[in-house]
Structures are given as C-alpha cells and as structure tokens.
Symmetry: C2
Subunit: 79 residues, 2 copies
DNA sequence: CCACATTTGTCCGTATGTATC
DNA sequence: AGATACATACGGACAAATGTG
C-alpha cells in the first residue's frame, strides 16, 4: 500500500493542526504557493485537498483573500 | 462566467438524485466516462465532484469497480 | 497464470477567470 | 494599474483494482 494520496495527507494535516490548536478558527492557512512548495505538489493537488476540507466545513475559501479555518461549531459533528 | 462551477453542479445533482430516491443506497453511479460525456467536462472535473461527495460521505469510490451511493446513515447528519 | 479491457485514482503542467489589496 | 491569491477547467500520463476470457 503506497500510503495515502498526497491531497489526503495535506488535508489530514490541516485537520490535525486544527484539532491540536496549532490552527485556530479564523486563522489563515499558508498560501497555496507556500503549501505547494512545502509538499512539493502541484496547484491542483492543493486545491483537491481544499475542496475536501471545504466539504467537511473545516475551511472557508475566499477568492482573492485566502483560506481560513472555520468555527468548530461547523465541523464538530463529524466523527 | 459560470453561474456556478461545473463540479458543484455535478455534485449537487447527485445529491438531489439521492434525496429524491432516483439514486438509492448501494446504487452505482454512471461511469466517469459517461458522466464526462453527459456534462461535457474533463476527467478532473468529475473527480473534483466525487472528492467533494466522498467528503460529504454521500458516495464511496471503489477503484476498478465504480462509485456507489452510501447508506443514508452516513450523511443524514450533514445539512 | 496470463492477457486484456474497463474503471477509478492520483498527479502534473498550463491556461484563464475573478476577487482582493 | 499592478500584484497577489484563490477558482475553475482542460488535457495528458501513468498507476492500481477489478472482472473476464
């Protein structure tokens, strides 16, 4: 098994950082460019992670501004 | 230009079909190739819709087999 | 066991659009 | 006006699982 996909690793790491408080509600995530560099992936891979996190309501993507962590109320119901 | 993104339209239509019973738990969705043709989009766009639906736990993607509708218990809590 | 077709999975590079600053 | 940042989409490539012959 070749580990999970990169986009899942990126998404899971954000989730972990939110749960541990390393990322707090309202915080802005590193820019896509920075995340690309940090993981050595393409833009599309980062966006895939963000689309997933957005569906889970953990983040909010705001065009032209950035990507922000949502209030826990929105995602606490997830098992 | 698009009043809403294609990948969101595809995802929303699946959700609508599940809610109206047109798609039932265990049902297999049309193949990605068919969906591509139906909407006139690329493979990546369909995958984006599926990544979103998977995060919402509405579908399950099984490599080599297909994409299947999950049991409602898994997604009923999501608004 | 092997070969093949089908189907989904993942990732890349690129282009263009849109919002914000 | 220009720079920055995210949004969407396309086409292509290869991997991996599944089923059939």
């Amino acid at each position: 098994m070749p580990e999970s996909a990169e986009y899942l690793r990126i998404a899971d790491e954000v989730v972990a950082d939110v749960r541990t408080g390393k990322l707090k509600p309202g915080d802005r995530l590193p820019s896509v460019a920075e995340t690309r560099a940090a993981y050595g992936v393409s833009y599309g891979t980062v966006q895939l992670a963000y689309v997933r996190l957005e569906a889970l309501r953990i983040i909010r993507r705001q065009q032209g501004k950035g990507v922000f962590v949502n209030d826990p109320k929105l995602w606490m119901r997830e098992p």
